[in-house]
Amino acid sequence: MTAPASSTKVRGETILSVDNLVKHFPISQGVLFQRQVGAVKAVDGVSFELRRGETLGIVGESGCGKSTLARLLMRLETPTSGRATLEGKDLFKSSGSELRRVRRNMQMVMQDPYTSLNPRMTVGDIIGEPFEIHRDAAPKGSRERRVQELLDVVGLNPEHINRYPHQFSGGQRQRIGIARALALRPEIIVCDEPVSALDVSIQAQVINLLEQLQDEFGLSYIFIAHDLSVVRHISDRVAVMYLGRIVEIGTEDEIYERPTHPYTQALLSAVPVPDPEAREQRNMIRLVGDVPSPADPPSGCHFRTRCWKAQDICATEDPQLVPRAADPHPSACHFAELRPPLPTA
């Protein structure tokens, strides 16, 4: 398989930029005369940039809006407001053939390899389906060969092109999903929890495959996951989300070694470390309570209801996601400060 044209482009330049993206799902009441009584603020003002060839990890607990963000970027949802530009083109304004071109450049790997593949289609049809829509991507005669190449690239046997999804294991199915995402030679792949449904020993195989494909094709990944260890392993930069907002963003080192937002610190300290001795040295932060409802988030800082540092200002003033004195990476906390790092085993 030949490398896509993008390999000649400059690594590290901004390829996707997202500016103040908002998605509110309306809550309506009434049977005949529906009126809106509120909104679930799933994504509430998110901005970030993705650079060519990098992996941006997005972490957060369920309900923080990370999957909605992925669906917005794929244009599976329409944003309430905000902008996103992909290589200079406005992602949300394009339509028709321009939208098809945009979509071709950005593909997605879904979470659940058991439900994201059509059980009635053969693997060849699943991976070749993008070529039905983007007919110029592979001329009809060469499709089968292209699909077999893709199977080979993701480490599956090209002879299995006529098999059905149920004949594959979970890890192999996720490889099929990855091959489908690669079919149109996109520059960006959005991975929404791509390994969380897999067993530990299979997880590592898929993570290694994703890293190897990134090197080979110069891909940029948006890697959404709740598993902080996996995200650290694969990401160059990491954004931490809480209730629809990014609360801290920085390089993998800044987020994991020098976090300044209390939520990031609590999240990191809660990760179970597979080493009984390292665990005893850690000082854990125990958060109390649950994540508030995104339909009715707290005023000011969304995290203040669970935060041990909360003061009056946290309820009245939204903390901005700006570089803080404690460490020069953006953190949305009025009282951003470093805490002793996790002990390394």
Partner: protein, 342 residues
């Protein structure tokens, strides 16, 4: 069928609280016979926590269901073996006798609290159901006890929330309701099947803390079934690692993490990304877990094992005792452990 004593520790006076001896379970399906459990032996003493670790299909949950007597038979069939609770074999008891054990002596909490709770009844009623049915309590008493139990599992405002329905609770709170139900009859053994898998990390930490506190305060023994090597490290005393329906390694938590003595355990520990350790490429276990209808000859792990020799293909490895109460079902257990310790 020969009964192998579990060599992991000496039998205390009067026997173990719970002991499995050479359990074999198979599932008879249209496609053939899946041998899901192939000679599992483990034991549990009062107040200790045993973690049963394994990937999907390793037989860890089926073992628990066999102990509880909630396996669907057919398709499942317990071929042989014993499940001794306080010295009595549960498998020879009548269904009514087993019912007396279930919940009252051995209770279980399940992975997915939302589907394990009945959506059309308030949680208080569901916790109280056990008390009314089994302890013969009146409605009022059951309700009062349900509130106590909800307090015990630290559900805030228990008295106010007793009339709420499962959908009104968050995932973590639902799991607490499940725990309250399991504790209703003061069981001596609590089996927790992937209790935090569906939960977020911060909530997971809360639930694991709660389970550890309850176990200590109520002096329960606990079997924690999980696939998460991280979760186990914090709470368990001993670990039994399962693969293809067998226990391949059995050790106390510290020595297992320090120097795994089975290639499968070693591979698992090396294949998880560590947040506290930076590395390049993850090492992987090659291949796939076996199809349980066609378990490989000899050692079931041999097609995936980096230590494989001809003997592994020909001979089923028996538990090798490695001192300090550890066992490993590997022909090269010493070698693997020495490699890991390096």
């Amino acid at each position: 069928m020969t009964v192998q004593p579990t060599p992991a520790s000496a039998t205390p006076e009067g026997g173990h609280l719970l002991e499995l001896r050479d359990l074999h379970v198979e599932f008879r399906t249209a496609e053939g016979v899946a041998r899901v459990i192939n000679g599992v032996s483990y034991h549990l003493d009062a107040g200790e926590t045993l973690a049963v670790l394994g990937e999907s299909g390793s037989g860890k949950s089926v073992t628990a269901q066999a102990i509880m007597g909630i396996l669907d038979t057919p398709p499942a069939l317990i071929r042989s073996g014993q499940i001794l609770y306080q010295g009595q074999d549960l498998l020879t008891r009548s269904e009514e006798q087993r019912r007396q054990v279930r919940g009252k002596e051995i209770a279980m909490i399940f992975q997915d609290a939302l589907s394990a709770l009945n959506p059309v009844f308030p949680v208080g009623w569901q916790i109280g159901e056990t008390l009314r049915q089994r302890a013969g309590m009146s409605r009022g008493d059951a309700r009062r006890r349900a509130i106590e139990l909800m307090d015990l599992v630290k559900i805030p405002g228990a008295a106010k929330r007793i009339g709420d329905y499962p959908h009104q609770f968050s995932g973590g709170m639902r799991q607490r309701v499940m725990i309250a139900m399991a504790l209703a009859l003061d069981p001596k053994v609590l089996i927790a099947d992937e209790p935090t898998t569906a939960l977020d990390v911060t909530v997971q930490a809360q639930i694991m803390d709660l389970l550890a506190d309850l176990r200590r305060d109520l002096n329960m023994a606990m079997i924690l079934i999980t696939h998460d090597l991280g979760v186990v490290a914090g709470v368990a005393d001993r670990i039994a690692v399962m693969y293809a329906g067998r226990i391949v390694e059995h050790a106390d938590v510290r020595s297992l993490y320090k120097a795994p003595a089975h290639p499968y355990t070693k591979g698992l520990l090396e294949s998880i990304p560590r947040m506290d350790v930076r590395g390049q490429e993850l090492s992987t276990i090659k291949g796939l877990p076996p199809n349980l209808m066609r378990i490989p000859s000899g050692c079931p792990f041999h097609p995936r094992c980096p230590y494989v020799q001809q003997v592994c293909v020909d001979v089923v490895p028996h538990d090798l005792v490695l001192g300090d109460g550890r066992t490993s079902a590997c022909h090269f257990a010493q070698e693997v452990r020495d490699d890991s310790a390096r």
